[in-house]
């Protein structure tokens, strides 16, 4: 255990701080700004130039070309959070497509797509889930049939965030209907302007359309737009999952939520008494505080494991499940603390914190379900982490 940073890292932290002091004025606000706003694109250019976005990606494709260093990555995240300045663009294009192309794309694909994606000019959406293929993603049915030099695509995708703004989609389609389900999938890249694509916003319980449905009717895509070979799409899509994507997340986000709740409790008064003076709420707050710190330290343990290039094992596997659950329970306490004022929503008078906590409470439930549901996470923890036997396969009817 040694929680101090060596001089090299303290110097690096000083550099990050100096950068932030100098360029902070160019940063867009933390609140959602349009994906295509000039301010955001300019900020991305500045970040790329100084190595605070695409830091470890090769220079020839528009990255900064630095050696991977988890501690520096953590310092960047900490300092940006401290300055309340947003980091680089973190869409599915940058997080998922770029690593996939770097590993499995052709030279032409890398040159055509990576730099533009990193700069924020090219926005991607991910065409994976379907109405009939959620947790069992490999059962997807959107069909791509070869006709001349094209695939002709018919089917439907769902949970496609940013589909309404995206230029391009990376999409899993079934090209070999007779092969076993994992071996019949291909990974295609195509423009969202291709004729035959219809995007419909998908309204969720939060009252917003954070996602879309995408319908394909005879969409023609050149066969050269495939990554990997026909039937290798499942492998292509999973290749980058081992990159520990998102695993290190922002360990301090839950802590800042906890601190906000403590402030709310000090400021909310019932019959003239602060909610912090109510021992029942106070007990819930401290119980959550212990969990928040446990996850924070678990995150520090993961950073060290990553620096040491060791597997963090179970400590990494539980993060999605436990982190989302914890965030949800934090939002729950915030709402309970506000009492009747906690149910105010949208543009109501007397609304607290712009309705943030109800939005968290509902959207976090979405996060518990999405991105590998809690139940799928538990299967992964028990089967891969603890070596427990898999559920016997049910014979096809």
């Amino acid at each position: 255990m040694n929680l101090n940073f060596t001089a090299e890292y303290e110097d690096f932290r000083a550099d990050v701080r100096a950068f932030l002091d100098k360029h902070k004025a160019d940063a867009p606000s933390m609140a959602n700004v349009g994906l295509r706003s000039e301010k955001r694109l300019k900020w991305q250019r500045i970040l790329l130039e100084h190595g605070y976005a695409a830091r470890t990606l090769p220079k020839q494709y528009g990255g900064f070309g630095a050696e991977p260093d988890s501690l520096k990555q953590r310092i960047i995240a900490e300092e940006f959070a401290r300055a309340k300045v947003p980091g680089g663009i973190a869409g599915q294009g940058i997080n998922m497509l770029v690593p996939t192309l770097l590993e499995l794309g052709t030279e032409e694909q890398k040159e055509k797509y990576i730099a533009k994606t990193l700069s924020g000019e090219m926005i991607w959406c991910q065409g994976y889930s379907e109405p009939g293929a959620g947790s069992d993603l490999a059962s997807l049915r959107t069909a791509a049939v070869v006709d001349g030099d094209d695939f002709v695509i018919n089917g439907q995708k769902i949970w496609t965030s940013t589909a309404n703004q995206a230029d391009m989609i990376f999409c899993l389609v079934r090209t070999e209907p007779d092969a076993p389900k994992h071996q019949g999938i291909s990974y295609l890249l195509f423009s969202m302007d291709t004729p035959g694509i219809e995007v419909r916003p998908l309204m969720t319980m939060t009252g917003r359309a954070e996602f879309n449905e995408v319908f394909f009717t005879d969409v023609r895509v050149p066969t050269s737009q495939i990554v990997g070979q026909r039937g290798e799409g499942w492998m292509v899509a999973n290749a980058t999952l081992t990159h520990e994507r998102g695993m290190l997340g922002d360990p301090d986000a839950a802590l800042s939520r906890l601190k906000s709740i403590a402030e709310i409790m000090q400021n909310e008064h019932v019959d003239g008494k602060s909610l912090m003076d109510n021992p029942v709420y106070r007990d819930r707050l401290v119980a959550l505080e212990a969990e928040v710190y446990a996850m924070k330290f678990n995150g520090m343990r993961l950073t060290t494991a990553s620096v040491e290039k060791k597997s963090a094992g179970l400590a990494g596997m539980i993060v999605k499940l436990q982190g989302c659950e914890l965030n949800h329970r934090l939002a729950e306490l915030a709402i309970d603390v506000m009492g009747e004022y906690g149910i105010l929503f949208e543009d109501s008078p007397f609304l607290r914190d712009h309705g943030l906590w109800q939005t968290h409470y509902m959207f976090d439930l979405g996060l518990i379900i999405g991105g590998g549901s809690a139940q799928i996470q538990k299967n992964i923890i028990s089967e891969r982490g603890l070596g427990m036997p898999r559920e016997p396969k049910v014979a096809k009817a």
Binding site: P279, A287, Y293, T303, G385
Partner: protein
């Protein structure tokens, strides 16, 4: 920055664990629980040979001069094998009490005796956390009278370190005026007693009780959290092993999601506790402004997660988990006792709120 155990720390824990794995087998623990004190004696000797009782004793007094993190790793191994030792009280809390409140002569004398094995000091600080049944001690001259409840480390103690609230003091167990009441608790892997004292001669530590007993309680709580962590680790391992082995409906019960999700839930809750215990222990020596808070967070959180694992693991074992035959209940009860000793979770959380100006 390095958040994890050093090679030395891992080796220390492994060596204690390897020793206890054979020396503190379930059958031995069962014998102890049924009234045969010999396991406590053999573990005392074996651990002394490994140097375990010396970890927190400074080198100048013949000890190893290691930190609370090392002590927590040792305690975790003891929880893992539900070992009847007095480590928490005699070799952590009492040593800390002497380090914090003893003058040079007292440290020389008592730490020397501890290192040499001639003094094993049990600890009773329950009344410093909250007194029930009118318990409490009063000092009159150099004689102490009154009641100290739930005194820990009674297995082999030769002495006890107690508090009046203002003063920390040490009494000899065999002094005239000491009357002991053995308490039967759910946890038969450790002995706690009630002490009624009538004009018992004592050594009053020079430094006063307030700061020293706060440190003792902070560190004692971290160790009880570590003990529950070790016990809960073992309960999860036993659950996984049992569920792979036990078959119903022609398949191992571990292939049912109902069962494997119980195991995943236990892991998801317990794994972050490991980092919390490490940090809380480390903070005792290296992050003084967080030491008191982190001790309370670790103690209360391990009380909750420990209870969850104890209950869930028992359920995974089905009817067998409920029997005496399997012996799983020793872990269940050890965790249950750790939850209450040195303050239950609500008490400890309220203290944590006070520390932060929330109460």
């Amino acid at each position: 920055m390095y958040f994890g155990l050093s090679q030395d720390q891992t080796m220390l824990q492994d060596s204690v664990q390897r020793y206890l794995e054979s020396a503190s087998e379930l059958e031995h623990v069962r014998g102890f629980a049924e009234g045969d004190n010999s396991l406590a004696e053999s573990l005392q000797n074996g651990l002394m040979e490994l140097g375990v009782p010396l970890v927190l004793v400074p080198e100048e007094f013949g000890g190893l001069g290691l930190g609370v993190l090392e002590a927590a790793l040792i305690q975790q191994a003891m929880g893992r094998f539900v070992s009847p030792t007095s480590f928490t009280s005699a070799y952590a809390m009492a040593v800390i009490g002497l380090r914090e409140a003893g003058d040079d002569d007292q440290k020389n004398d008592w730490l020397g005796r501890i290192a040499g094995g001639s003094a094993i000091i049990g600890v009773g600080l329950t009344e410093a956390i909250g007194a029930r049944e009118g318990a409490g001690l009063k000092l009159s001259g150099d004689k102490v009278s009154g009641r100290a409840s739930f005194v820990m480390g009674a297995e082999l103690a030769t002495h006890f370190m107690l508090t009046t609230g203002k003063d920390l003091l040490i009494i000899a167990r065999d002094s005239a005026g000491v009357s002991e009441t053995a308490l039967t608790t759910i946890d038969k892997t450790r002995h706690v007693i009630m002490l009624d004292l009538q004009d018992v001669p004592c050594t009053v530590l020079a430094g006063g009780a307030v700061a020293a007993q706060a440190r003792m309680i902070d560190i004692g709580r971290v160790l009880l959290a570590a003990d529950s962590l070790g016990a809960a680790d073992m309960m999860i391992e036993k659950s996984v092993a049992y569920s792979k082995d036990r078959e119903q409906f022609n398949r191992p019960i571990g292939s049912f999601q109902a069962v494997k999700h119980m195991c995943a839930d236990m892991v998801a809750k317990l794994e972050p506790c490991r980092s919390l215990v490490w940090y809380a222990a480390y903070a005792q020596d290296h992050v003084s402004d967080e030491a008191a808070l982190m001790s309370r967070l670790a103690k209360s959180h391990l009380a909750e997660v420990g209870k969850y694992v104890a209950r869930t693991s028992t359920e995974v074992h089905g009817g067998m988990g409920f029997t005496d035959l399997l012996g799983l209940h020793y872990w269940f009860k050890r965790i249950g006792a750790n939850r209450q000793l040195l303050g239950g979770p609500e008490t400890v959380r309220e203290e944590a709120a006070k520390l932060q100006g929330w109460s």
